[in-house]
Each structure stands twice: as C-alpha cells, then as structure tokens.
C-alpha cells in the first residue's frame, strides 16, 4: 500500500458518501427546530431556531403512547422469535433433525412479500379475537421473523467448535441442557445481534401494523406517524420532531450495539 497521499484521495471520495447518508437525518433535526414560516423558505438550517415543535408534536398526537406500544410489541416479539428459532436452528445443524429440507423451506418462505400474508392473517386475528390488540401484533411478528432469526443464528452455531458439545454429552448432559448451558453462553454475541435485528424489524414494521390496529391504544409508532401526515394538519416541524422521537430508540441501540450488529448482518447475509 502506498503512503498517505492515496488515503487522502480515498478519504475525499468518502466525504460525499457520508454526507449523502447523513443528509436526511440532519435535515429532520433542522426542520424540527423551524417555525412555521421558516419551514417555507427552503433553507437548510432554521433562521430562528425554536424548540416549540417538540412539545407541540407530543400534544398533537399520542407519540409517547405509540412509542411505548412499539417498544413493548417489538421487545416481546423479539424474545419469542429467538426462543422459537434457536432450538430449531440448533436441531437442524447438530441433531440433524429436519435437515436441508427445513432450512430451504424456511428461507424460501421469506421470499414471498408480506402482502401475501396480509389478508389471511387479518382473518386469523379476527377469528381468535386479537385484532386491534398488541398481543395480536406480538403473535404475528414473533412468527414472521422466525425465518430471519433462523438464518442469522445459523452461521454462529456453525462456527461453534463441536468438541465442546461432545464433551458436554460425554458428561451426560442432554442436548437441551447442552444448548442452554454450553452453546448459548458461547454464541451470546450472535444471539444478541439476532435479537436486535428482529426487534428492530418489528419496531419498524408498517404494513401489518397499519392493517391490524385501528385505535390509539394499540397503534405502533410508524402507524401513528403516518396518520400525523394524514387527517391532521400537515405541520412539517412537528412531523420532523415526532419522527426523530421515534427514530431515537433505534439509533441509541445501533450506537451501543454496532459491533454486534455489523457482524450479525455480515455473517447472516451471505453464505
């Protein structure tokens, strides 16, 4: 590798890329600080910054309630998804149950767009009386993300040295105890990464949430925000503030957990 001259050029090439990816986020912050007149002048930063949009947004819609719904639904479904996917992934890989057939079917089930399941799941929730409930969303998300979790966990399990499990079996541990007491602690980073990813997927989900909930008590944040621009008066400043409030939890997780996330995504995405 040649000395730093080349690096300088590469760094300069990276600057506009970083700028492009930072732009919408910075603009949201800028707009959230603008007064109503300021929004219309089309400049980037506010001329007279104000914090008034923030409390106004929280008053205009039940933003805190929406965020709470989203957090509850996504955390619960994330936990259930891991509990469902981990034993199965372990069984397919180590106990040779289900085999290639099961992993192929699981993966291909992810190929169909969610719109395919929209109408049938609507009737399912209606039949079991869970339409417009948070429990209904938890149920759907838990199941829907199993293929993703299954696929993300697989490479972590595969890289685990089998000798350790064999030693546990020699000591008389059953497969379930081996999984819980030996495997789980070793692949914990992979489990954490997978949990974060499926939780964020649920937190961000919009299609099912918009069709399966219709009261403020159950609506998740994306649905709540989407209504913000619908029947209420469009106020860009408040919309930006509400959006930022909704993004904040995910970005906090991303910042603190980035190491796990990059490895989780990178290993799971490409075989």
């Amino acid at each position: 590798m040649r000395p730093s001259g080349r690096h300088l050029w590469l760094g300069l090439a990276a600057a506009p890329i970083v700028g492009f990816f930072a732009l919408p986020f910075l603009y949201l912050i800028a707009v959230s600080l603008k007064t109503k007149d300021d929004v219309l002048n089309g400049r980037f930063w506010p001329t007279t910054p104000t914090l008034a949009n923030w409390p106004a947004a929280f008053e205009a819609a039940n933003i805190l309630g929406f965020i709470l719904n989203s957090v509850i639904v996504s955390l619960l479904s994330g936990l259930v998804t891991i509990a469902l996917a981990l034993p199965s992934a372990y069984a397919v890989l180590r106990l040779k149950i289900g085999g290639k057939w099961l992993s192929d079917v699981t993966l291909s089930s992810y190929m169909a767009p969610p719109i395919v399941a929209l109408i049938p799941l609507f009737f399912l929730l209606k039949t079991i009386g869970l339409l417009d409930t948070r429990a209904g969303l938890v149920l759907i998300y838990s199941f829907a993300n199993v293929p993703v979790a299954f696929w993300l966990l697989m490479p972590f399990l595969r890289r685990m040295p089998i000798e350790i499990e064999q030693a546990a079996a020699m000591d008389g541990a059953g497969p379930f105890r081996t999984l819980l007491q030996i495997v789980v602690p070793i692949i914990a980073p992979g489990i954490v990464a997978t949990f974060i990813i499926v939780t964020v997927l649920s937190y961000n989900e919009f299609l099912f949430a918009s069709a399966f909930t219709f009261s403020d008590a159950t609506r998740t944040l994306p649905v709540g925000i989407s209504l913000f621009q619908g029947d209420r008066l469009v106020n860009f400043g408040q919309m930006a503030a509400a959006s930022l409030a909704g993004i904040a939890p995910v970005y906090l997780v991303a910042l603190f957990m980035q190491r796990y996330l990059v490895s989780g995504l990178a290993h799971g995405g490409v075989k």
């Binding site: 590469l10 760094g11 990276a14 919408p24 497969p175």
Partner: protein, 313 residues
C-alpha cells in the same frame, strides 16, 4: 415392569415395544423443530391455502367465502390494465433498484476496504439508515422533495437552476425517482455491509501473488477480486430483489400511489383493494398473480447464484 417383563415377552411384542419407543423418540426429536414448523404453518402454509380459497370465492373483508365464483377474479385481475401496469412497475423497480444499489454498494465497500480502520468506522455510521423505520425515511425524504420549503427546491432556486419550485412527487417519473432515492438511501448501506464482508473473505496472499506476477490494479480487480466475490454478489442481488418486491411503506408515505396510479406498486394496489375497497376475493387473486410473477423473475437469479456456487466448489 421393566427388565423382567421384557425378558418374558415374545420376540414379536418386543418389536412392537421397540417401535413404540422409536415413535416416542422421533416425536421427542420433532418437538425441537416444532416452533419453526408452527411459524411456517402460520405465516406461509395457512396464508397460501387461505388465499387460494379466497381467490375463487365471493369475499369481502367483513364476509369471506360467500360462494364459489371460479376463475372470475383471476380473469378480472388479468384484464385490469391498472393492476397489470402496477405489476410491471414493481418488476422494473425491483430489477433497477437492486442493480443500481448493488453496483453502488460494491463500489463503496471497495472504498471502505481500502480505507481500513477509517472504513470500519464509516461502516458503523452507514448502519443508521438501515435501522431507520421506513415510514420515517419516507417522511425525511418527503420534506426534502417538498415543493414548498423543500430542501431540494430551495437549493435549486438559490443556485438559479429553476425559477419555480418543482413538484417532484407530483410528476409520474420524478416521483418514482424520489422513491428510488429514498430506497437507495435506506438499503445501500445494507449492501455495503454485505459486500464488505464478502470482500474480507478474500485471502491476503491472492493479491500479493498477483502483484508479484505484475498484474495492475484493474487486472487484479477484474481477474481476481470479481470472480472471487461473484457468488456472494449474486446472493446479495437476490436478497435485494426480494426486499424490493416488498416495496410498500415508501409509496404509502411519499406518494400514496400517485399522481393518479403512476407510482402504485403491486403491493400497494393489493393493499388498497383489500383494506380500502374490502374486495378481498379479487385482492387474493391479484396476490397470487403477483407471487407467481415474483417467482418467475427471481428464478433466473437463483439459477445464476447456484451456477456461481457450483463453480466455486
């Protein structure tokens, strides 16, 4: 009754006991994968069967299955120019955005790989768009593209490129481009991460050997790097293709399918048919048609991926 009982049993009965034991053992093994089987049943098998039944029946959102109507819904769907062009747009959009983002993501990954340490830092930065809820992505870009007070129009007017603000989201072609830009912003980082991972699997020695043989930068890229990552690149393309066919949130927020039906994707058309018009019978038929089209479009890519993987072995 254990050891003794087994001893006095006839050989035949012992066989039955053994088989019964094997049955319970197999059932015990099945409980391991039962969760995934249930999940697949609920999210894939049941919806497919249910949709098929809906597609052949007179059904509304309130009252499903009110009589068999044969292939009527399929006939209507296949003769509806609005729906057919929605499918065409979805296919074109998926193929185009996936290709553009794969090329761009791969280039950025190459750049980040050359930047070493700094590249790793940039990587955790570009993670953020991926984590952003698509609805909020749509809102951020809607603010940028807005005719009154939008950032892009503001810049264009300030620098004298245009005198009147352009209604980006109100113009059929520009609205698609706007959706494409928002999509690119959200998903290219994901592709960068995957390409970065694929590039990091190339052993160091390979490049050094080529360097010793006197290969220049372009030759090394074309004859060594690219063939080595062809298989992962094809699977990344496939993954993005699948994700692009799911396009819904950005359309809902940015254009709501408009102007007219110009940005109505197949998924959005089906959603409106079912949730707004309550015509779930026809929506079910449309869904089956769309799923079939997705299968036909992705099959060659799956084959391509298999081809690259075989070559590697």
């Amino acid at each position: 009754m254990t050891a003794f009982a087994v001893e006095v049993l006839e050989p035949d009965t012992a066989g039955v006991a053994a088989r019964r034991h094997a049955f319970w053992a197999r059932l015990g093994r099945l409980t391991w994968i039962a969760p995934v089987l249930v999940a697949l049943a609920v999210t894939t098998l049941y919806p497919t069967v249910f949709l098929l039944a809906l597609a052949f029946s007179k059904s509304t959102l309130g009252k499903p299955f009110r009589g068999f109507v044969g292939i009527k819904h399929f006939a209507t769907a296949l003769q509806d120019p609005v729906f057919l062009s929605a499918i065409g747009r979805s296919v074109a959009y998926a193929l185009a955005t996936s290709m553009v983002q794969l090329a761009l993501g791969f280039l950025i990954a190459l750049l980040f790989t050359s930047l070493l340490k700094a590249g790793r830092f940039l990587m955790s930065l570009v993670l953020l768009p991926l984590m952003t809820p698509p609805v909020m992505v749509g809102i951020a870009w809607k603010l940028i593209f807005a005719p009154a007070g939008g950032l892009l129009n503001g810049a264009l007017i300030t620098y004298g490129v245009v005198s009147e603000p352009i209604s980006f989201l109100g113009h059929p072609t520009l609205a698609w481009l706007a959706i494409g830009v928002a999509d690119l912003w959200q998903w290219t980082p994901f592709i960068v991460i995957l390409c970065f991972a694929a590039l990091s699997t190339i052993p160091e020695g390979v490049h050094e050997a080529a360097l010793v043989d006197g290969a220049n930068g372009w030759q090394r890229f074309w004859h060594i790097t690219l063939p080595l990552v062809a298989a992962p690149l094809s699977s990344i393309y496939l993954l993005k293709l699948i994700l692009s066919f799911k396009l819904f949130d950005l359309v809902y927020i940015l254009t709501f399918g408009g102007p007219g039906f110009a940005t109505t994707s197949a998924g959005f058309a089906i959603y409106r048919r079912a949730i707004e018009q309550f015509d779930v019978g026809r929506a079910a038929a449309e869904t089956m048609v769309y799923a079939l089209v997705i299968g036909l479009v992705t099959l060659p890519v799956v084959r391509l991926h298999q081809h690259f993987e075989r070559r590697e072995l």
